[in-house]
Symmetry: C2
Subunit: 259 residues, 2 copies
Amino acid sequence: MKLITSARNEQLKHVSKLLSHGKARRAHGQTVLEGVHLLQACLQAGVRPIQVYVPEHKRCAGEAGALLAKLPEHCVTPVAAGVLSRISGLAQAEEVLTLIDIPAPPARPRQGDCVVLDCVQDPGNVGTIMRSAAAAGVQKLVLGQGCADAWAPKVLRAGMGAHFLLDVSECVDLAQWCAGYGGSIWATALSATNGRNLYDTDLTRPAAWVFGNEGGGVSAGLLARATGCVNIPMAGATESLNVAMAATICLFEQMRQRL
Amino acid sequence: MKLITSARNEQLKHVSKLLSHGKARRAHGQTVLEGVHLLQACLQAGVRPIQVYVPEHKRCAGEAGALLAKLPEHCVTPVAAGVLSRISGLAQAEEVLTLIDIPAPPARPRQGDCVVLDCVQDPGNVGTIMRSAAAAGVQKLVLGQGCADAWAPKVLRAGMGAHFLLDVSECVDLAQWCAGYGGSIWATALSATNGRNLYDTDLTRPAAWVFGNEGGGVSAGLLARATGCVNIPMAGATESLNVAMAATICLFEQMRQRL
Protein backbone atom coordinates (compact mmCIF):
# COMPACT_ATOMS: atom_id res chain seq x y z
CA MET A 1 0.00 0.00 0.00
CA LYS A 2 2.14 2.83 -1.27
CA LEU A 3 1.16 6.40 -0.43
CA ILE A 4 0.52 8.64 -3.45
CA THR A 5 1.87 12.13 -2.81
CA SER A 6 1.29 13.95 -6.09
CA ALA A 7 -1.59 14.62 -8.48
CA ARG A 8 0.90 13.88 -11.27
CA ASN A 9 0.94 10.22 -10.26
CA GLU A 10 0.00 8.08 -13.28
CA GLN A 11 -2.96 6.43 -11.52
CA LEU A 12 -4.40 9.78 -10.44
CA LYS A 13 -3.88 11.22 -13.91
CA HIS A 14 -6.05 8.35 -15.21
CA VAL A 15 -8.71 9.03 -12.54
CA SER A 16 -8.65 12.72 -13.37
CA LYS A 17 -9.18 11.98 -17.08
CA LEU A 18 -12.14 9.72 -16.31
CA LEU A 19 -13.67 12.45 -14.14
CA SER A 20 -13.52 15.08 -16.83
CA HIS A 21 -13.79 13.29 -20.18
CA GLY A 22 -16.68 11.15 -21.38
CA LYS A 23 -14.43 9.91 -24.17
CA ALA A 24 -11.97 8.47 -21.62
CA ARG A 25 -14.82 6.82 -19.70
CA ARG A 26 -16.10 5.16 -22.86
CA ALA A 27 -12.64 4.14 -24.08
CA HIS A 28 -11.77 2.43 -20.78
CA GLY A 29 -15.29 1.35 -19.75
CA GLN A 30 -14.54 2.86 -16.36
CA THR A 31 -15.82 5.70 -14.20
CA VAL A 32 -15.06 7.30 -10.83
CA LEU A 33 -17.40 7.64 -7.85
CA GLU A 34 -16.88 10.71 -5.69
CA GLY A 35 -17.57 10.44 -1.99
CA VAL A 36 -18.36 7.83 0.63
CA HIS A 37 -22.07 7.60 -0.12
CA LEU A 38 -21.55 6.37 -3.69
CA LEU A 39 -18.85 3.92 -2.55
CA GLN A 40 -21.34 2.53 -0.04
CA ALA A 41 -24.11 2.22 -2.67
CA CYS A 42 -21.72 0.45 -5.04
CA LEU A 43 -20.58 -2.04 -2.38
CA GLN A 44 -24.18 -2.68 -1.29
CA ALA A 45 -25.02 -3.56 -4.88
CA GLY A 46 -22.15 -6.06 -4.99
CA VAL A 47 -20.04 -4.04 -7.43
CA ARG A 48 -16.31 -4.54 -6.67
CA PRO A 49 -14.19 -1.38 -6.95
CA ILE A 50 -11.02 -1.64 -9.01
CA GLN A 51 -9.32 0.78 -6.64
CA VAL A 52 -10.31 3.22 -3.90
CA TYR A 53 -8.18 6.34 -3.41
CA VAL A 54 -8.55 7.73 0.08
CA PRO A 55 -7.06 10.78 1.82
CA GLU A 56 -4.49 9.34 4.21
CA HIS A 57 -6.17 10.77 7.33
CA LYS A 58 -9.50 9.13 6.44
CA ARG A 59 -7.97 5.71 5.78
CA CYS A 60 -9.00 4.26 9.12
CA ALA A 61 -11.47 6.86 10.39
CA GLY A 62 -15.21 7.35 10.30
CA GLU A 63 -17.59 6.09 7.62
CA ALA A 64 -14.87 5.72 4.99
CA GLY A 65 -12.67 3.69 7.33
CA ALA A 66 -15.48 1.29 8.17
CA LEU A 67 -16.20 0.66 4.48
CA LEU A 68 -12.55 0.31 3.49
CA ALA A 69 -11.94 -2.24 6.23
CA LYS A 70 -14.12 -4.66 4.26
CA LEU A 71 -12.04 -4.37 1.08
CA PRO A 72 -8.88 -6.36 0.20
CA GLU A 73 -5.82 -4.29 1.03
CA HIS A 74 -4.57 -4.14 -2.57
CA CYS A 75 -7.79 -2.30 -3.53
CA VAL A 76 -7.16 0.68 -1.25
CA THR A 77 -4.57 3.38 -1.98
CA PRO A 78 -3.90 6.17 0.51
CA VAL A 79 -3.21 9.62 -0.91
CA ALA A 80 -1.48 12.51 0.85
CA ALA A 81 -3.71 15.28 2.20
CA GLY A 82 -4.76 17.90 -0.35
CA VAL A 83 -3.98 15.84 -3.45
CA LEU A 84 -7.39 14.31 -4.21
CA SER A 85 -9.23 17.61 -3.89
CA ARG A 86 -7.10 18.87 -6.78
CA ILE A 87 -8.68 16.41 -9.21
CA SER A 88 -12.22 15.97 -7.83
CA GLY A 89 -15.20 18.24 -8.42
CA LEU A 90 -16.06 18.03 -4.72
CA ALA A 91 -13.87 20.97 -3.82
CA GLN A 92 -15.15 21.58 -0.30
CA ALA A 93 -14.48 18.24 1.33
CA GLU A 94 -11.64 15.93 0.51
CA GLU A 95 -13.38 12.69 -0.32
CA VAL A 96 -12.61 9.14 -1.37
CA LEU A 97 -12.55 8.48 -5.11
CA THR A 98 -13.55 5.00 -6.27
CA LEU A 99 -12.50 3.63 -9.65
CA ILE A 100 -15.01 1.10 -11.04
CA ASP A 101 -15.81 -0.69 -14.26
CA ILE A 102 -19.03 0.71 -15.70
CA PRO A 103 -21.53 -2.15 -15.32
CA ALA A 104 -22.15 -3.99 -18.59
CA PRO A 105 -25.29 -2.68 -20.30
CA PRO A 106 -28.24 -5.05 -19.96
CA ALA A 107 -30.23 -6.39 -22.88
CA ARG A 108 -32.49 -3.54 -23.98
CA PRO A 109 -35.89 -3.94 -22.34
CA ARG A 110 -38.77 -4.98 -24.61
CA GLN A 111 -41.40 -4.96 -21.90
CA GLY A 112 -42.02 -3.90 -18.31
CA ASP A 113 -41.77 -0.44 -16.71
CA CYS A 114 -39.11 1.83 -18.20
CA VAL A 115 -38.00 5.41 -18.06
CA VAL A 116 -36.85 6.72 -21.44
CA LEU A 117 -34.87 9.95 -21.77
CA ASP A 118 -34.91 11.82 -25.06
CA CYS A 119 -32.09 14.41 -25.19
CA VAL A 120 -32.22 15.27 -21.48
CA GLN A 121 -28.98 17.21 -21.38
CA ASP A 122 -28.53 18.49 -17.85
CA PRO A 123 -26.52 16.04 -15.71
CA GLY A 124 -28.42 17.07 -12.58
CA ASN A 125 -31.73 16.32 -14.29
CA VAL A 126 -30.60 12.89 -15.53
CA GLY A 127 -29.30 11.96 -12.07
CA THR A 128 -32.39 13.23 -10.28
CA ILE A 129 -34.67 11.33 -12.64
CA MET A 130 -32.63 8.17 -11.98
CA ARG A 131 -33.07 8.70 -8.23
CA SER A 132 -36.81 9.23 -8.65
CA ALA A 133 -37.17 6.20 -10.92
CA ALA A 134 -35.48 3.96 -8.35
CA ALA A 135 -37.62 5.41 -5.56
CA ALA A 136 -40.79 4.88 -7.60
CA GLY A 137 -39.88 1.26 -8.37
CA VAL A 138 -38.95 1.60 -12.03
CA GLN A 139 -35.73 -0.32 -12.72
CA LYS A 140 -35.08 0.11 -16.40
CA LEU A 141 -33.62 3.28 -17.83
CA VAL A 142 -33.17 3.85 -21.56
CA LEU A 143 -31.18 6.89 -22.67
CA GLY A 144 -31.27 8.07 -26.25
CA GLN A 145 -28.46 9.80 -28.09
CA GLY A 146 -27.93 13.38 -26.94
CA CYS A 147 -28.53 12.73 -23.24
CA ALA A 148 -25.99 13.55 -20.55
CA ASP A 149 -23.64 10.61 -20.00
CA ALA A 150 -25.25 8.46 -17.27
CA TRP A 151 -21.88 7.61 -15.68
CA ALA A 152 -20.53 11.16 -15.59
CA PRO A 153 -19.57 12.42 -12.12
CA LYS A 154 -22.35 15.03 -11.89
CA VAL A 155 -24.99 12.48 -12.89
CA LEU A 156 -23.62 10.00 -10.36
CA ARG A 157 -23.73 12.65 -7.64
CA ALA A 158 -27.34 13.62 -8.38
CA GLY A 159 -28.31 9.96 -8.65
CA MET A 160 -27.14 9.34 -5.07
CA GLY A 161 -26.58 5.64 -5.71
CA ALA A 162 -29.64 5.00 -7.91
CA HIS A 163 -27.23 3.93 -10.67
CA PHE A 164 -26.65 0.68 -8.80
CA LEU A 165 -30.38 -0.06 -8.52
CA LEU A 166 -31.15 0.45 -12.22
CA ASP A 167 -30.47 -1.29 -15.53
CA VAL A 168 -29.04 1.49 -17.68
CA SER A 169 -28.97 1.36 -21.50
CA GLU A 170 -27.27 4.30 -23.22
CA CYS A 171 -27.04 5.74 -26.75
CA VAL A 172 -30.18 3.89 -27.81
CA ASP A 173 -31.93 4.70 -31.10
CA LEU A 174 -35.24 5.56 -29.44
CA ALA A 175 -37.47 5.46 -32.50
CA GLN A 176 -36.27 1.94 -33.26
CA TRP A 177 -36.53 0.95 -29.60
CA CYS A 178 -40.14 2.19 -29.34
CA ALA A 179 -41.12 0.05 -32.32
CA GLY A 180 -39.99 -3.09 -30.47
CA TYR A 181 -41.41 -2.23 -27.05
CA GLY A 182 -44.48 -4.18 -25.93
CA GLY A 183 -46.23 -1.90 -23.39
CA SER A 184 -47.87 1.51 -23.40
CA ILE A 185 -45.60 4.44 -24.22
CA TRP A 186 -46.45 7.69 -22.45
CA ALA A 187 -44.84 10.85 -23.73
CA THR A 188 -44.96 13.83 -21.39
CA ALA A 189 -45.98 17.30 -22.48
CA LEU A 190 -43.98 20.22 -21.10
CA SER A 191 -47.09 22.37 -20.80
CA ALA A 192 -50.51 21.63 -19.37
CA THR A 193 -52.35 22.33 -22.61
CA ASN A 194 -51.45 19.26 -24.66
CA GLY A 195 -52.49 15.67 -24.19
CA ARG A 196 -54.53 13.95 -21.53
CA ASN A 197 -54.65 14.74 -17.82
CA LEU A 198 -52.16 12.59 -15.87
CA TYR A 199 -54.67 11.85 -13.14
CA ASP A 200 -57.33 10.63 -15.59
CA THR A 201 -54.89 8.20 -17.22
CA ASP A 202 -54.88 4.54 -16.20
CA LEU A 203 -51.29 3.85 -15.19
CA THR A 204 -51.75 0.42 -13.66
CA ARG A 205 -50.21 -1.54 -16.55
CA PRO A 206 -46.50 -1.73 -17.50
CA ALA A 207 -45.43 1.35 -19.40
CA ALA A 208 -42.49 3.28 -20.79
CA TRP A 209 -42.39 6.96 -19.81
CA VAL A 210 -40.64 9.24 -22.27
CA PHE A 211 -39.26 12.49 -20.87
CA GLY A 212 -37.85 15.04 -23.29
CA ASN A 213 -35.30 17.76 -23.70
CA GLU A 214 -35.29 20.67 -21.19
CA GLY A 215 -36.17 23.24 -23.82
CA GLY A 216 -37.86 21.32 -26.61
CA GLY A 217 -39.65 18.47 -24.88
CA VAL A 218 -40.16 15.07 -26.48
CA SER A 219 -39.19 15.03 -30.16
CA ALA A 220 -41.93 14.85 -32.77
CA GLY A 221 -40.77 11.45 -34.02
CA LEU A 222 -41.24 9.89 -30.60
CA LEU A 223 -44.52 11.70 -29.93
CA ALA A 224 -45.84 10.02 -33.08
CA ARG A 225 -44.83 6.59 -31.76
CA ALA A 226 -46.33 7.08 -28.27
CA THR A 227 -49.59 5.55 -27.06
CA GLY A 228 -50.49 9.00 -25.81
CA CYS A 229 -49.23 12.30 -24.51
CA VAL A 230 -49.81 13.06 -20.85
CA ASN A 231 -49.85 16.46 -19.14
CA ILE A 232 -49.63 17.51 -15.50
CA PRO A 233 -52.32 20.00 -14.44
CA MET A 234 -50.70 23.18 -13.08
CA ALA A 235 -51.73 26.41 -11.40
CA GLY A 236 -52.44 29.68 -13.21
CA ALA A 237 -49.42 31.63 -14.36
CA THR A 238 -46.94 28.77 -14.44
CA GLU A 239 -45.96 27.58 -17.89
CA SER A 240 -43.98 24.49 -17.19
CA LEU A 241 -42.12 22.34 -14.74
CA ASN A 242 -38.50 21.29 -14.72
CA VAL A 243 -38.24 17.90 -16.49
CA ALA A 244 -36.95 16.17 -13.35
CA MET A 245 -39.94 17.40 -11.35
CA ALA A 246 -42.36 16.40 -14.10
CA ALA A 247 -40.80 12.92 -14.21
CA THR A 248 -41.04 12.60 -10.44
CA ILE A 249 -44.72 13.53 -10.44
CA CYS A 250 -45.56 11.06 -13.23
CA LEU A 251 -43.61 8.15 -11.74
CA PHE A 252 -45.04 8.65 -8.27
CA GLU A 253 -48.58 8.99 -9.64
CA GLN A 254 -48.01 5.64 -11.38
CA MET A 255 -46.83 4.17 -8.09
CA ARG A 256 -49.81 5.66 -6.22
CA GLN A 257 -52.29 4.13 -8.66
CA ARG A 258 -50.71 0.73 -8.06
CA LEU A 259 -50.59 0.86 -4.24
CA MET B 1 -27.44 55.89 -22.86
CA LYS B 2 -23.74 55.66 -22.32
CA LEU B 3 -21.93 52.46 -23.28
CA ILE B 4 -20.09 50.73 -20.43
CA THR B 5 -16.82 49.29 -21.65
CA SER B 6 -15.18 47.91 -18.51
CA ALA B 7 -16.08 45.54 -15.66
CA ARG B 8 -14.41 48.11 -13.38
CA ASN B 9 -17.25 50.54 -14.04
CA GLU B 10 -18.80 51.57 -10.68
CA GLN B 11 -22.30 50.39 -11.62
CA LEU B 12 -21.02 46.96 -12.71
CA LYS B 13 -18.91 46.65 -9.56
CA HIS B 14 -22.14 47.16 -7.60
CA VAL B 15 -23.95 44.52 -9.71
CA SER B 16 -21.05 42.12 -9.25
CA LYS B 17 -21.18 42.54 -5.46
CA LEU B 18 -24.91 41.88 -5.41
CA LEU B 19 -24.38 38.71 -7.46
CA SER B 20 -21.81 37.28 -5.11
CA HIS B 21 -22.60 38.59 -1.64
CA GLY B 22 -25.81 38.04 0.35
CA LYS B 23 -24.65 40.78 2.71
CA ALA B 24 -24.61 43.30 -0.13
CA ARG B 25 -28.08 42.20 -1.28
CA ARG B 26 -29.47 42.67 2.23
CA ALA B 27 -27.70 46.00 2.80
CA HIS B 28 -29.05 47.50 -0.43
CA GLY B 29 -32.35 45.59 -0.59
CA GLN B 30 -31.47 44.79 -4.21
CA THR B 31 -30.68 41.76 -6.33
CA VAL B 32 -29.74 40.93 -9.92
CA LEU B 33 -31.64 38.74 -12.38
CA GLU B 34 -29.51 36.83 -14.88
CA GLY B 35 -30.95 36.19 -18.31
CA VAL B 36 -33.89 37.18 -20.45
CA HIS B 37 -36.33 34.69 -18.95
CA LEU B 38 -36.15 36.22 -15.46
CA LEU B 39 -36.40 39.74 -16.89
CA GLN B 40 -39.55 38.66 -18.68
CA ALA B 41 -41.05 37.09 -15.53
CA CYS B 42 -40.29 40.23 -13.55
CA LEU B 43 -41.90 42.51 -16.12
CA GLN B 44 -44.94 40.25 -16.40
CA ALA B 45 -45.39 40.54 -12.63
CA GLY B 46 -45.31 44.34 -12.89
CA VAL B 47 -41.94 44.72 -11.14
CA ARG B 48 -40.02 47.71 -12.59
CA PRO B 49 -36.29 47.13 -13.05
CA ILE B 50 -33.96 49.79 -11.67
CA GLN B 51 -31.58 49.18 -14.56
CA VAL B 52 -31.04 46.57 -17.25
CA TYR B 53 -27.48 45.94 -18.47
CA VAL B 54 -27.44 44.45 -21.93
CA PRO B 55 -24.62 43.28 -24.23
CA GLU B 56 -24.47 45.96 -26.92
CA HIS B 57 -25.16 43.50 -29.75
CA LYS B 58 -28.36 42.26 -28.06
CA ARG B 59 -29.72 45.76 -27.40
CA CYS B 60 -32.14 45.71 -30.31
CA ALA B 61 -32.15 42.05 -31.28
CA GLY B 62 -34.18 38.97 -30.48
CA GLU B 63 -36.09 38.33 -27.27
CA ALA B 64 -34.06 40.79 -25.22
CA GLY B 65 -34.56 43.55 -27.76
CA ALA B 66 -38.34 43.07 -27.78
CA LEU B 67 -38.51 43.30 -23.98
CA LEU B 68 -36.16 46.28 -23.72
CA ALA B 69 -38.19 48.22 -26.28
CA LYS B 70 -40.96 48.44 -23.68
CA LEU B 71 -38.73 50.04 -21.03
CA PRO B 72 -37.93 53.76 -20.64
CA GLU B 73 -34.60 54.53 -22.27
CA HIS B 74 -32.89 55.62 -19.03
CA CYS B 75 -33.47 52.12 -17.60
CA VAL B 76 -31.37 50.36 -20.24
CA THR B 77 -27.55 50.47 -20.32
CA PRO B 78 -25.62 48.86 -23.17
CA VAL B 79 -22.37 47.13 -22.24
CA ALA B 80 -19.48 46.27 -24.58
CA ALA B 81 -19.21 42.65 -25.71
CA GLY B 82 -17.48 40.31 -23.26
CA VAL B 83 -17.81 42.56 -20.20
CA LEU B 84 -20.99 41.16 -18.61
CA SER B 85 -19.86 37.56 -18.86
CA ARG B 86 -16.96 38.51 -16.60
CA ILE B 87 -19.28 39.23 -13.66
CA SER B 88 -22.19 36.83 -14.25
CA GLY B 89 -22.36 33.17 -13.30
CA LEU B 90 -23.86 32.40 -16.71
CA ALA B 91 -20.49 31.96 -18.32
CA GLN B 92 -21.60 30.28 -21.55
CA ALA B 93 -23.95 32.87 -22.95
CA GLU B 94 -23.58 36.58 -22.51
CA GLU B 95 -26.90 37.58 -21.02
CA VAL B 96 -28.77 40.65 -19.81
CA LEU B 97 -28.42 41.44 -16.11
CA THR B 98 -31.36 43.20 -14.44
CA LEU B 99 -30.97 45.18 -11.24
CA ILE B 100 -34.15 45.20 -9.14
CA ASP B 101 -35.32 46.12 -5.67
CA ILE B 102 -36.11 42.93 -3.74
CA PRO B 103 -39.92 43.03 -3.33
CA ALA B 104 -40.96 44.13 0.16
CA PRO B 105 -41.73 41.10 2.34
CA PRO B 106 -45.44 40.54 2.83
CA ALA B 107 -47.14 40.25 6.21
CA ARG B 108 -46.31 36.76 7.46
CA PRO B 109 -49.15 34.42 6.60
CA ARG B 110 -51.33 33.25 9.50
CA GLN B 111 -53.59 31.06 7.37
CA GLY B 112 -53.97 29.58 3.89
CA ASP B 113 -51.62 27.25 1.99
CA CYS B 114 -47.94 27.78 2.68
CA VAL B 115 -44.61 26.14 1.98
CA VAL B 116 -42.22 26.39 4.92
CA LEU B 117 -38.49 25.66 4.53
CA ASP B 118 -36.46 24.65 7.58
CA CYS B 119 -32.72 24.95 6.88
CA VAL B 120 -32.95 23.96 3.21
CA GLN B 121 -29.43 24.99 2.28
CA ASP B 122 -28.94 24.13 -1.37
CA PRO B 123 -29.85 27.07 -3.63
CA GLY B 124 -31.01 24.71 -6.39
CA ASN B 125 -33.37 22.97 -4.00
CA VAL B 126 -34.86 26.23 -2.69
CA GLY B 127 -35.41 27.50 -6.23
CA THR B 128 -36.87 24.22 -7.45
CA ILE B 129 -39.27 24.07 -4.51
CA MET B 130 -40.37 27.64 -5.30
CA ARG B 131 -41.05 26.63 -8.90
CA SER B 132 -43.04 23.59 -7.76
CA ALA B 133 -45.00 25.60 -5.21
CA ALA B 134 -46.04 28.11 -7.85
CA ALA B 135 -46.96 25.32 -10.28
CA ALA B 136 -49.01 23.57 -7.58
CA GLY B 137 -50.89 26.73 -6.71
CA VAL B 138 -49.26 27.51 -3.35
CA GLN B 139 -48.42 31.22 -3.15
CA LYS B 140 -46.92 31.74 0.27
CA LEU B 141 -43.35 30.78 1.07
CA VAL B 142 -41.86 31.04 4.56
CA LEU B 143 -38.11 30.52 4.96
CA GLY B 144 -36.56 29.94 8.36
CA GLN B 145 -33.08 30.97 9.39
CA GLY B 146 -30.37 28.83 7.82
CA CYS B 147 -32.03 28.51 4.40
CA ALA B 148 -30.31 29.57 1.20
CA ASP B 149 -31.03 33.23 0.46
CA ALA B 150 -34.22 33.29 -1.66
CA TRP B 151 -32.97 36.17 -3.82
CA ALA B 152 -29.52 34.72 -4.52
CA PRO B 153 -28.68 34.27 -8.22
CA LYS B 154 -28.66 30.46 -8.12
CA VAL B 155 -32.03 30.36 -6.36
CA LEU B 156 -33.46 32.81 -8.88
CA ARG B 157 -32.17 30.70 -11.77
CA ALA B 158 -33.67 27.47 -10.38
CA GLY B 159 -36.93 29.30 -9.58
CA MET B 160 -37.34 30.24 -13.26
CA GLY B 161 -39.55 33.22 -12.40
CA ALA B 162 -41.56 31.62 -9.56
CA HIS B 163 -40.20 34.35 -7.26
CA PHE B 164 -42.55 36.80 -8.91
CA LEU B 165 -45.59 34.58 -8.36
CA LEU B 166 -44.96 33.99 -4.64
CA ASP B 167 -45.10 35.95 -1.38
CA VAL B 168 -41.69 35.30 0.16
CA SER B 169 -40.95 35.78 3.88
CA GLU B 170 -37.32 35.16 4.93
CA CYS B 171 -35.40 34.67 8.19
CA VAL B 172 -38.57 33.73 10.04
CA ASP B 173 -38.45 32.19 13.53
CA LEU B 174 -40.33 29.06 12.49
CA ALA B 175 -41.23 27.76 15.97
CA GLN B 176 -42.86 31.09 16.78
CA TRP B 177 -44.49 31.26 13.36
CA CYS B 178 -46.02 27.78 13.72
CA ALA B 179 -47.61 28.79 17.02
CA GLY B 180 -49.52 31.57 15.28
CA TYR B 181 -50.54 29.65 12.15
CA GLY B 182 -54.22 28.65 11.88
CA GLY B 183 -54.20 25.61 9.54
CA SER B 184 -52.81 22.10 9.56
CA ILE B 185 -49.02 21.82 9.63
CA TRP B 186 -47.58 18.83 7.76
CA ALA B 187 -43.96 17.97 8.39
CA THR B 188 -42.35 15.65 5.87
CA ALA B 189 -40.27 12.65 6.81
CA LEU B 190 -37.11 12.00 4.78
CA SER B 191 -37.65 8.25 4.93
CA ALA B 192 -40.73 6.16 4.29
CA THR B 193 -40.75 4.62 7.75
CA ASN B 194 -41.97 7.54 9.87
CA GLY B 195 -45.36 9.18 9.97
CA ARG B 196 -48.50 8.63 7.95
CA ASN B 197 -48.78 7.67 4.29
CA LEU B 198 -49.12 10.76 2.08
CA TYR B 199 -51.88 9.20 0.00
CA ASP B 200 -53.99 8.32 3.05
CA THR B 201 -53.81 11.89 4.36
CA ASP B 202 -56.69 14.28 3.69
CA LEU B 203 -55.05 17.29 2.03
CA THR B 204 -58.16 19.15 0.96
CA ARG B 205 -57.99 21.85 3.64
CA PRO B 206 -55.48 24.75 3.83
CA ALA B 207 -52.16 23.62 5.18
CA ALA B 208 -48.54 24.56 5.75
CA TRP B 209 -46.01 22.05 4.44
CA VAL B 210 -42.68 22.00 6.27
CA PHE B 211 -39.69 20.66 4.31
CA GLY B 212 -36.42 20.17 6.15
CA ASN B 213 -32.68 20.20 5.76
CA GLU B 214 -31.09 18.01 3.04
CA GLY B 215 -29.23 15.86 5.56
CA GLY B 216 -31.16 16.19 8.80
CA GLY B 217 -34.77 16.65 7.74
CA VAL B 218 -37.26 18.75 9.72
CA SER B 219 -35.88 19.81 13.12
CA ALA B 220 -37.27 18.16 16.24
CA GLY B 221 -38.72 21.41 17.54
CA LEU B 222 -40.86 21.85 14.44
CA LEU B 223 -41.85 18.17 14.28
CA ALA B 224 -43.27 18.62 17.80
CA ARG B 225 -45.37 21.56 16.62
CA ALA B 226 -46.73 19.86 13.48
CA THR B 227 -50.22 18.42 13.10
CA GLY B 228 -48.57 15.31 11.74
CA CYS B 229 -45.60 13.86 9.93
CA VAL B 230 -46.20 12.59 6.39
CA ASN B 231 -44.11 10.11 4.42
CA ILE B 232 -43.97 9.24 0.75
CA PRO B 233 -44.13 5.48 0.04
CA MET B 234 -41.03 4.38 -1.89
CA ALA B 235 -39.72 1.28 -3.59
CA GLY B 236 -37.40 -1.27 -1.98
CA ALA B 237 -33.79 -0.30 -1.63
CA THR B 238 -34.24 3.45 -1.83
CA GLU B 239 -33.77 5.30 1.42
CA SER B 240 -34.84 8.78 0.60
CA LEU B 241 -35.68 11.36 -2.00
CA ASN B 242 -34.08 14.70 -2.68
CA VAL B 243 -36.01 17.34 -0.67
CA ALA B 244 -37.08 19.19 -3.82
CA MET B 245 -38.53 16.00 -5.31
CA ALA B 246 -40.28 15.16 -2.03
CA ALA B 247 -41.78 18.66 -1.91
CA THR B 248 -42.95 18.38 -5.51
CA ILE B 249 -44.68 15.06 -4.84
CA CYS B 250 -46.46 16.38 -1.71
CA LEU B 251 -47.60 19.65 -3.28
CA PHE B 252 -48.89 17.95 -6.43
CA GLU B 253 -50.68 15.28 -4.40
CA GLN B 254 -52.39 18.11 -2.52
CA MET B 255 -53.36 19.68 -5.82
CA ARG B 256 -54.60 16.34 -7.17
CA GLN B 257 -56.84 15.78 -4.15
CA ARG B 258 -58.42 19.19 -4.73
CA LEU B 259 -59.03 18.86 -8.48
